[in-house]
């Protein structure tokens, strides 16, 4: 049966071929740059999709929560970095995991270090979180003495093994196009290398450098780093397309949404597909704020995004799509439109299950059993 004829509700479609190609491409980029790919699994959150990474030789992964680490550990991943500041309240779960797998933790303060000194009962890898300009968390890159002090304390710690310096340069999401992204990316990388070199001079040998936002890793060589940790690239999304990290035909997920009303007087289509399916994460679509790009079913998948079409608004279950004249007449109530989500990680979390273009269901850690 035709895939789209089976769809009743907002459904997360996955183009397996595109996702596997994205994985292959990133693995090749890492190899060319001489860096290890430690992909972030917070985007797909799925054991089955994790296997696609294993098939290209990935053995070490990144996650964003202790829960996610437990989930992937239960599927045989034994080298996991939790790229999130240590949550003291999950120390029991951390100890249990660290007893089972090679676990990496992020530190950015002496408070947390002392807490771990007191409560950690198993060996863990420690990464110092460095802020290269994003200003979310981490020790600023230009405070080498703070980093050095923390590094020395980590070295004196019983169970922590200092691995190196880690950053997430989330501010590349504000850049547009290869040149701007790579200028920023190189600046970030240089800051990490400078800091590492300062620590080397102070006697801290062999510190690794872990970097990895999707725009930088998709567009620019990360040569000089030890490992990269991009996540979003497995699917990409409208935000990444807007940054210039990918072409529209590399976007590997789309949310199939039933059309429930049309409003010719304002070129708008109402879909079953709202904030509880797509998330309210927006991007700038030219002069407009948009929650997704819009395509139509085509050849068992979805078309290229329709020029000038975008999701202009979302309420809890409703989406409002603006369609230029040439497309408006192609869409009728009862049809399916495919929304390329603004932020695929959040759409995955909300929709919980994938449906491949071949009609196969794939679960995530959020699926109902």
């Amino acid at each position: 049966m035709d895939l789209f004829s089976t769809i009743k509700r907002p459904t997360l479609l996955l183009d397996e071929q595109k996702a596997r190609l994205n994985i292959d491409n990133m693995a090749a980029r890492a190899q060319n740059a001489g860096v290890i790919l430690r992909p972030h699994f917070k985007t797909h959150q799925s054991a089955a999709i994790g296997e696609w990474f294993r098939e290209v030789g990935i053995t070490a992964i990144t996650v964003s929560s202790v829960d996610m680490a437990r989930y992937f550990a239960s599927y045989g991943w034994d080298n996991i970095l939790i790229a999130f500041p240590v949550n003291w309240r999950e120390i029991d779960e951390i100890n249990q995991l660290a007893g089972e797998i090679n676990l990496g933790l992020l530190l950015e303060s002496r408070d947390t270090l002392r807490y771990l000194d007191w409560h950690l009962k198993q060996p863990c890898n420690a990464w110092i979180k460095v802020d290269v300009g994003y200003q979310r968390t981490g020790i600023p890159w230009n405070q080498p003495e703070s980093v050095l002090n923390l590094a020395r304390e980590i070295q004196r710690s019983r169970f922590l093994r200092l691995r190196g310096l880690l950053t997430h340069a989330g501010h590349t999401y504000h850049a547009r196009g290869s040149q701007e992204v790579c200028q920023l990316s190189q600046e970030n990388l240089n800051r990490m290398i400078t800091l590492r070199d300062q620590l080397t001079q102070a006697g801290l040998d062999r510190l690794e450098i872990s970097v990895g936002d999707t725009p930088s890793c998709s567009l620019c060589s990360q040569s000089g780093a030890t490992e990269i940790r991009p996540g979003n690239f497995v699917f990409y999304d409208a935000q990444q397309w807007n940054i210039g990290s990918c072409h529209a035909d590399q976007i590997a997920v789309a949310v199939a949404c039933p059309v429930v009303a049309t409003h010719p007087e304002r070129n708008e289509v109402v879909i079953y597909g709202g904030a509880v399916h797509l998330s309210k994460d927006a991007f700038d679509y030219g002069a407009y704020t948009a929650f997704g790009l819009v395509s139509l079913p085509e050849d068992g998948g979805w078309s290229m995004p329709l020029d000038g079409a975008y999701v202009r608004g979302l309420s809890q279950e409703h989406g409002i799509i603006h369609l230029p004249d040439e497309y408006f007449n192609q869409v009728r109530v009862g049809d399916i439109v495919c929304v390329l989500p603004s932020h695929s990680c959040l759409a995955v979390t909300l929709l919980r299950d994938y449906l491949t273009l071949e009609g196969r269901a794939i679960a995530t850690m959020h699926s109902k059993p």
Copy 2:
């Protein structure tokens, strides 16, 4: 054991007493105005909380999807209005439900009417969706001839019983304060009454009027309507507080989030609690865009929101909170802060389960079994 000492991860706290008071207040307001309260259950999405409404005499409810209708029907609700344009692709589920309960559907087009004429096999109540100015969906209130034509077709339909006119005046969310909200609310209500009277003159007797956004229903009399359908009022949230629909101490849910880092140099605290817990729905907190208000644990519940404190940013799992000096020093890594979410309906969908201040878990339709 102290409630907050048990919390490890972002947790949706529910103050049952406040929620029950909110329900009591709205039931009293409806009674005073002489209108029926048909509460929207899309906010709490919980069979257990539904019972609190039953205790004050509620027998008819509103939902936003066929799924939600099925869920509540399975808990004994037998008068349910799906306040969402009919999704043709769920006609089998609609027929099944309509065979079991008193089901209400929303129509706004002849296309959908004809689809239902062809496929509906059970009696349903029909409401014509009217747009009083929100411009999301519905027939504009000032096109009485379009409404009349649709109404007459509904009357000729085999299984549909025309009940009346329904609107959702979502544009009241842009108003601020009682005076502005009620001016807009009265204008909306007058438009519905005018339209109803025009239809009465054309021979369509006894049409009901269904209205009901939380700001209007919280602040203004809806006298003249037949029924009101507010939903958010059961918990309220930062957006409603900002509109002026509620006082801060009426907000009945808060997301307890562990503090994982502090940044004194910029008065910021990093919490475990991000877009996958709170949603990226924002509100204007003075000159700032905020994703929640901030309070601290207090007397087994949470304090009033801290003046000048707000959630300034969210990534997937991180939240960044700005705290003025006087509060910053009260918060340490490992502590819990309570975020009053920007939009409680979305936070409930994301977090799926409640924990009452007495430590009791309450499930929603999204809970894992």
